[in-house]
């Protein structure tokens, strides 16, 4: 038996004992995870610095803070989420219990990504634990030090049988995908997403795929350009552009381009100084393969800001490209790097047409003071999420479902959505063996009379809520009549 097979078999055996279902167990594991994040802050930051040149502050702000919020939410709301959810009844089920019960799925496979390894690997894990599942965690091997740290730390805080960590590269992941899971949660590229979905299809395993795409950013002429550019620069150059929801490219009118470039330049200087290479807050590209991929994208476009790079250090300066053509290299695939192309369009309509020619992106950004512009963009385009007048922050609102559509992914998570996604919502109808008289109309031999009754009772032409209100009204009317009558009687007696 391979190591991967053993981990999955062990997780399944542990799940079948039923201990992951118990609410106290789930809360305990979540609180242990919280302790991991608090106690190992230093180690986590150290590993991230080696992998992506991220500072401790950045790691906390963008990775662990969000996780701590999710854990706190899950611990607080777990009882409510796991309770039966009653539904509206019909005339035939008035005396029955009708509800939806959230149940664990079984063993979930979580395949993490390298750009925000803690956030993207642990957030689904929080939901998996909260939903009562076992989970096999496969951190991305690309962020070497963080994967190694996860492999060391998670077994120290979590139940090792229920939540094993499996590290490794392509062969190990292939071996994992040959095993059977009850759900596979993957964050990464579309190309690999297809392979994962195909492997899952062999076992009829449902998947959640958090993929990417080219997230457009439309900057209207009617907006505060200075603030917009700061926010776009922040959204773009955080983590060196290696964010699935980073604004990929900007659409603006030709007249606004020069001002935009100036403001972006100003923002870049403010954030990362005149020499981003020496700035501790500016990251690096994860590896040389990605470095080369990104640098080659600049080839057929004009650099307006930045452009310098150093392969030895995997450094690419925050770069803005101007007058970019739709068929330029940089517009052919998701950039996932610190290049911000500006494509000029004549106005909102052309921008919408441009966006709709491409695949549905994970995020769409629109900067404008005009609510009508925002509404039009919202109604006439489709994307995983839409954010007006800012970048990235919709990720941190855990009541908003986060996920893609079309090529940018399927399924959503964050907060309660993760819990629901990694649960089976089972329909339950609890009847008794009484009131059999009602059922006689459905039994053969079938007659026209029985059909008539069945039409009446089964066809949903009565709104129980409405009937309830009518009955209440009738009751109130009767009560009023009685009171008035009594009052009149009293008056008569007085006389």
């Amino acid at each position: 038996m391979s190591r991967e097979q053993q981990a999955v078999a062990g997780a399944r055996r542990a799940f079948q004992t039923g201990r992951s279902r118990c609410l106290e167990h789930r809360v305990r594991q979540l609180k242990n995870l919280q302790r991991l994040l608090t106690e190992c802050r230093g180690d986590i930051a150290g590993a991230m610095k080696k992998d992506l040149r991220k500072s401790e502050v950045v790691v906390q702000m963008y990775e662990t803070l969000g996780l701590e919020e999710e854990i706190a939410l899950a611990v607080r709301k777990l009882k409510e989420w796991a309770a039966p959810r009653p539904v509206e009844k019909n005339l035939l089920t008035v005396s029955d219990a009708v509800y939806v019960q959230a149940e664990p799925l079984g063993v979930v496979l979580i395949i993490g990504a390298w750009n925000y390894p803690w956030a993207v690997t642990l957030q689904p894990l929080i939901g998996a634990i909260a939903a009562g599942n076992a989970a096999v965690i496969k951190p991305s091997e690309v962020c070497v030090h963080t994967a190694k740290l996860m492999d060391e730390l998670l077994p120290l805080y979590l139940d090792t049988e229920l939540y094993p960590v499996v590290t490794g590269g392509v062969p190990e992941t292939q071996e994992l995908l040959r095993q059977r899971f009850d759900h596979i949660f993957y964050t990464g590229s579309g190309a690999v997403g297809k392979l994962i979905m195909a492997a899952a299809a062999q076992h009829l395993t449902p998947v959640t795929l958090e993929l990417g795409g080219k997230s457009p950013c439309y900057i209207d002429s009617d907006c505060d350009i200075a603030v917009a550019c700061r926010r776009v620069a922040w959204g773009k150059f955080t983590n060196c552009g290696q964010t699935c929801i980073a604004p990929d490219y900007v659409l603006c009118q030709p007249a606004a381009q020069q001002r935009l470039i100036q403001e972006l330049h100003k923002a870049i200087k403010e954030f990362y100084t005149d020499d981003p290479k020496t700035c501790p807050d500016y990251g690096r590209i994860i590896n040389r393969r990605h470095f080369r991929r990104i640098v080659s994208m600049m080839e057929d476009s004009t650099v307006a800001v930045g452009g310098d790079n150093d392969e030895e250090d995997c450094f690419i300066a925050p770069t803005v490209l101007r007058d970019v053509k739709p068929d330029a290299k940089v517009m052919q695939e998701e950039i996932f790097g610190p290049l911000l192309p500006i494509v000029t369009v004549d106005g909102l309509d052309e921008a919408i047409r441009f966006i709709n020619r491409g695949e549905k992106p994970l995020a769409l950004y629109v900067f404008s003071h005009d609510a009508k512009v925002i509404q039009k963009m919202r109604e006439e385009t489709s994307s995983g999420g839409l954010l007006a007048n800012d970048c990235l922050v919709h990720y941190s609102v855990n009541s908003l479902p986060f996920g893609g559509v079309g090529n940018s992914g399927m399924g959503c998570y964050h907060g309660k959505h993760t819990f629901d996604r990694l649960s089976h919502l089972r329909a339950c109808l609890i009847k008794t063996l009484k009131m059999e008289g009602m059922n006689n109309m459905r039994y053969p031999p079938h007659t026209a009379g029985k059909l008539g009754w069945a039409r009446f009772f089964v066809l949903k032409n009565l709104n129980l809520g409405w009937i309830g209100r009518l009955l209440l009204l009738a009751a109130v009317a009767v009560l009023a009549a009685v009171v008035i009558q009594k009052y009149q009687l009293l008056r008569q007696l007085d006389r």
Binding site: V98, L204, R231, L400, M410, P445
Partner: protein, 501 residues
């Protein structure tokens, strides 16, 4: 800086591609369906199906179609399955009508963006979830409920604002032809198309790329569809067959239990995704249950069910032969067992002395055969059920609520019903779908609307209060982080009053 190995997607492709020996290199896609898909896509891009009025008009047209052509549906299903009028109306037409009525009365509410709870940093912003149509959906029906399994998902797709291609099962040829004839007369011809595709072509059609695919049928077919959908990252809903267990406890009213089970099992001549497939009967009451079932069947269908107008036939010879084969090679026949090939008739049959390894317990059953197995207690029942794949439904008949509770919490299935069968799939407010090998996703009522929608998160901010926002910009220092952390902890501790704000 060390250079870690960097696996490229190209490596993935090479290593995970499976070589399929013996298959022809060229796929011949069914080109005639591409045209219809193109027309549907153009209509969707022109935003034809999106307006509320359009959706309501189409839903009302579905209702009218079922009202005005009830006789045609009864006739078509009569020819395909020898289905009695009662069954056609009550289990095929009425469920679709209920779904359409439910969608019509709730559409406005469903289409409204939902406000969601905000956190401290988004207190002054608008946080919404907007329901958007997906695009063009592909709905593949199954033959055991040919009208319902096509039109109920269609109602959901229409309500959600999509265009659709519908492929009714060609096994029920008359019903498929009827739908192909009627739908263009009632629904918008550019947005909705009916195709008649063979089961083997369906996976190829899925690869033409849709925005969602809905399939009901067997597990093998479902897996092929899922693999085809994976090629284009198309989300899927699968409602698949399996073996639905039914536990009969020693503490229950045997007569009523037998009645309810017999109705559910022999309805549509056992050709159902949701009927109880086998009974696990407590050994104390087994004899009485079998006797009660026999009496029931006599009452329902008379001494010769072949003469009864209430009893259906097998859909085709393939299913007939398969069912006949399974029943003759398993257990002992205590009632029925007669077959007439010319009519594709199999009598309502009860088997006892069935072993777990018998063919009838190993393969999916579509026919009027009910194996009754003996168990000694609830533990044995639960262990037996959990050894099999997760089914679409689990049924329990008992007066003891603890028994019901135990079976429910210690097993898993798409849905669960105690003291009756099938009904949970007819309640429009409950999700209907499978789990594990019995399927992916759910539909019915609001769940259909959600299945065929994309829930888009929208966060609408303004460019004011930049002083607060600027806390997050570099250069990073610990002071900024402390402020953000404080704000975050305040936010999750006081989620209650933030909501009021």
């Amino acid at each position: 800086m060390s250079n870690p190995p960097s696996p490229s997607p190209a490596n993935w492709f090479k290593s995970l591609r499976r070589t399929r020996l013996g298959e022809p290199c060229l796929k011949t896609y069914p080109l005639q369906y591409e045209e219809q898909l193109k027309r549907a896509r153009v209509s969707f891009q022109a935003r034809r199906s999106i307006k509320e009025n359009f959706r309501l008009a189409q839903l009302e047209a579905v209702l009218r179609m079922l009202e005005e052509h009830e006789c045609d549906f009864v006739d078509a299903l009569g020819r395909d399955l020898h289905k009695p009028r009662f069954e056609t109306v009550v289990s095929e037409l009425i469920p679709v009508k209920n779904e359409a009525l439910h969608a019509i009365s709730n559409l406005k509410k469903w289409m409204q963006p939902q406000q969601v709870e905000r956190n401290l940093s988004t207190t002054l912003d608008e946080c919404l979830v907007v329901n958007e149509p997906l695009g063009v959906v592909f709905i593949m029906g199954t033959w055991c409920s040919p009208v319902q399994m096509c039109l109920v998902p269609l109602v959901g797709a229409i309500a959600a604002g999509n265009c659709a291609i519908i492929s009714p099962s060609v096994c029920t040829a008359h019903t498929a032809a009827l739908l192909q004839r009627l739908i263009p007369s009632y629904l918008d011809n550019e947005c909705f198309h009916v195709i008649l595709a063979g089961t083997n072509d369906l996976a190829d059609i899925v690869e033409l790329k849709f925005d969602h695919v809905f399939f009901s049928g067997t597990r093998e077919e479902g897996s092929r569809i899922a693999q085809a959908a994976a090629q284009c990252l198309t989300p899927i809903t699968l409602v698949l067959g399996g073996k639905n267990p039914c536990y009969v406890d020693q503490h229950c009213d045997i007569t009523i239990t037998a009645q309810r089970i017999a109705w559910a099992r022999f309805h549509n001549s056992g050709q159902s995704l949701v009927a109880p497939d086998y009974i696990l009967c407590h050994s104390d009451v087994k004899t009485r249950l079998v006797q009660a079932l026999k009496c029931c069947l006599m009452r329902f269908y008379g001494s010769d069910p072949r003469e009864s107008s209430s009893f259906c036939r097998m859909v085709n010879l393939d299913i007939f032969n398969r069912t006949k084969d399974l029943l003759w090679r398993s257990g002992k026949v205590v009632l029925g067992g007669q077959v007439t090939e010319a009519e594709k008739y199999i009598a309502p049959t009860i088997l006892t002395e069935v072993d777990e390894s018998d063919p009838i317990m190993q393969q999916d059953l579509f026919g009027p055969v009910l194996p009754v197995l003996s168990v000694n207690n609830v533990d044995e029942t639960i262990a037996f059920i959990n050894k099999q794949e997760k089914p679409l439904c689990v049924y329990v008949y008992s007066n003891n609520s603890k028994v019901i509770s135990r079976v429910m919490s210690e097993t898993s299935s798409g849905s669960f019903c105690s003291n009756d069968s099938t009904l949970q799939s007819l309640i429009v407010t409950l999700p209907f779908g499978g789990v594990g090998a019995s399927g992916i996703g759910a539909y019915h009522g609001r769940y259909s609307f959600d299945t065929f929608s994309h829930r888009k998160s929208c966060l609408l901010r303004s460019t004011h209060l930049e002083c607060v926002t600027s806390l997050r910009y570099p250069p990073y220092d610990d002071r900024n982080l402390s402020l953000i952390t404080w704000g975050s902890s305040l936010s999750w501790k006081s989620q209650g009053w933030c909501h009021i704000l």
